[in-house]
């Protein structure tokens, strides 16, 4: 006899309704001709048209993507280095402080990270004359700092799972440690590095609080633009923007799902092949 889970299934349905009704509502109203949220004024795509003709939005989007691209890439390089170091070197001078520095940004409230970065940049400008102006550079530096630790967490977890002896094997076959890193370690953990990059990219693209503290005049990212608009209340073109963003993410996630599913099938096929080879 199979046990039934009526309660659990009900909770799942309720939970997913909770997750998706606000988003669906936003999508529906992005096609509303009326400016008022409560009145259905007929189907219209005018908010999309106004969105794409808004140079501010396009500029902010480009700036956000630029910052996310640069910061995610540098955060991935630094975060991967830290993850490998923490997983591979159980003892080195200052390791305790290092592992603290790698976890602290994860639990630090964003407001505090924001004001501490801003005070740092202001005082630096005063003491050594750098950074002369806050904007792209300061935002990118702050994003690298707090997104690299997410990459470190992912890479470190992956490293701890991987078989140490393949690195020893490469060294045994004549590779110096840095060659081992290039030929074996990084290719093996590459999926983790890639998902670290993706996470860092999303975090940077999504950040409001730290960006709002570290940016300067003329450097408005997309979240900052949305932030300044929604502080004033609900506006229909934000519905349109949200719909576009949700669609892009959904398409991305579905494609990722299909790719992963294929990889799983391939793995199963390979296992069967190995099994036949055995026989």
């Amino acid at each position: 006899m199979k046990r039934r889970h009526t309660f659990l299934i009900t909770m799942l349905c309720f939970g997913f309704a909770f997750f998706y009704i606000p988003i669906l509502s936003m999508i529906v109203y992005s096609f509303n001709a009326s400016r008022l949220a409560s009145v259905w004024g007929g189907f219209s795509t005018k908010w999309y048209v106004s969105l794409f003709s808004n140079k501010q939005v396009i500029d902010a989007l480009i700036l956000s993507l630029e910052i996310a691209l640069v910061s995610a890439t540098l955060a991935t390089i630094l975060g991967t280095m830290a993850g490998i170091a923490l997983a591979r070197f159980p003892v080195f001078r200052g390791r305790l402080l290092f592992s603290g520095l790698v976890t602290a940004p994860l639990i630090m409230p964003e407001v505090i990270t924001g004001i501490s970065s801003l005070m740092f940049f202001i005082l630096m400008a005063q003491w050594i004359g750098w950074p002369g102006q806050r904007g792209f550079t300061t935002v990118t530096l702050a994003h690298i700092t707090f997104s690299m630790v997410f990459v470190t967490t992912i890479v470190q977890a992956r490293m701890l799972q991987s078989d140490r002896s393949i690195e020893e094997a490469a060294m045994d076959l004549g590779s110096k440690p840095w060659q081992v890193l290039r030929d074996v370690t990084i290719p093996v953990i590459f999926p983790a590095v890639l998902s670290g990059w993706l996470l860092a990219f999303t975090i940077s693209l999504d950040d409001v609080v730290i960006t709002s503290f570290t940016t300067g005049p003329g450097s408005t990212t997309l979240p900052l633009l949305i932030w300044s608009k929604v502080k004033l209340g609900v506006t229909p073109d934000i519905n349109a923007l949200a719909t576009l963003m949700v669609s892009v993410v959904a398409v991305g996630v579905v494609i990722a799902g299909i790719v992963m599913n294929r990889a799983e099938h391939r793995r199963q096929r390979d296992e069967q092949m190995a099994f036949r080879a055995n026989g």
Partner: protein, 367 residues
């Protein structure tokens, strides 16, 4: 070139500490060129640490290793002409079989053609040519083991280290692979150092065996020596099964020892062992297959009467547990040479039998 009389591999007074724990205690060994030499022992006996020091992954705390006359102290793993076959095989999961085998050749000054030819040669040696483009997860466990072997041999090492080479294979495959390993060793002439916990594996594979316990080498010798002439109770117990009794040495006569063995209820003649004195307490040890069982009194000095308490039929042989008059329990194997099933066996439950052994089969140990 190896100078005459110089061993190919010399391990000199090697010790290794991990913090306060001494994993390897003052080990000295010589290995000749082209030998298959096994380090045999239970887990934690220091054999793997010794192997890792040969590969260069660990530095000895004290002592030195000479390979082909060259002091290996301070030589990095990647600079050593020593390659290892890992217990987990440690194949690179993202590279094909041929890339795995050719990986070490990256560091050799060879043309691309020469490298390709070497990879082919290695794959032929282990009969994996048809699988060259497969990835490690697309081949079977036995094939992976052979890829690991080909990869370690591709750079023509002076010394090949094999860490539990057969442990991950199932029983059938293990027997076949054992002979393959030996034939590949003969064809390539590379010196093999094998680490294993499996005494059968060590016995069949090796030219010589070093039995290790608690970081020390207990005995070094050919499989026959170690089996027939163990020098300690540890070695006697570890290799094969053995029955042992406390004994006292009464006298030395005609190159034999006369012992008093109260558990057997009498005196025993045994092969002489130098270094033992009259009156000294010792241990008499006998391998079960050296004990003969018969219904009539045999023509042998070391013969004792008893009753069959228990017997187990294994097909090719039977195990008897016999209670002697003295009350001691001994185990004896008897080969079932004649067909006829259980009816044809030498004795049955509660039968009166004689247990006997030749003086040359009796092992006398000092402890």
């Amino acid at each position: 070139m190896t100078a005459a009389g110089e061993p190919f591999l010399r391990i000199e007074n090697i010790s290794k500490f991990f913090g306060p724990f001494q994993a390897v205690k003052d080990v000295s060994l010589d290995v000749a060129k082209g030998e298959i030499f096994s380090l045999l022992g239970g887990s934690g006996c220091g054999k793997t640490t010794l192997l890792r020091m040969l590969a260069g992954f660990e530095e000895p705390t004290s002592g030195r290793i000479f390979l082909d006359g060259r002091d290996m102290t301070g030589v990095a793993p990647w600079d050593r002409p020593v390659h290892m076959m890992f217990q987990s095989y440690a194949l690179f999961p993202h590279m094909s079989v041929e890339k795995n085998v050719g990986y070490g050749l990256k560091h050799e000054r060879m043309s691309a053609d020469e490298k390709a030819a070497r990879v082919r040669e290695m794959l032929e040696l282990v009969q994996l040519l048809p699988f060259a483009t497969r990835k490690p997860h697309q081949i079977s466990g036995g094939q992976r083991q052979r890829v690991a072997l080909a990869r370690a041999l591709a750079r023509q090492p002076k010394l090949l280290l094999l860490d539990e080479p057969l442990a991950a294979l199932d029983k059938k495959l293990r027997e076949r692979t054992q002979f393959e390993l030996m034939s590949i060793q003969q064809r390539t002439g590379v010196t093999f150092i094998v680490v294993t916990h499996d005494q059968e594996e060590a016995m069949t594979l090796s030219d010589r065996i070093a039995v290790m316990d608690k970081g020390e080498v207990k005995q070094i010798g050919s499989p026959g020596d170690v089996y027939e002439f163990p020098n300690s109770r540890f070695v006697a117990d570890f290799i094969g099964s053995i029955t042992s009794f406390p004994a006292t040495i009464l006298a030395r006569q005609d190159a034999q020892l006369r012992l008093s063995v109260p558990a057997l209820g009498g005196e025993v003649l045994a092969r002489d062992v130098p270094g033992l004195n009259e009156g000294q307490d010792a241990t008499l040890a006998i391998r079960p297959e050296k004990l003969l069982i018969s219904k009539d009194r045999p023509d042998e000095v070391n013969a004792f009467e008893g009753t069959v308490k228990d017997l187990a039929y294994f097909g090719k042989d039977s195990l008897y547990r016999v209670i002697l008059r003295s009350g001691a329990l001994v185990q004896a194997h008897a080969v079932n040479a004649r067909r006829g099933g259980e009816a044809a066996r030498a004795a049955d439950w509660d039968d009166k039998v004689w247990i006997s052994f030749a003086p040359s089969s009796a092992i006398v140990l000092a402890e």
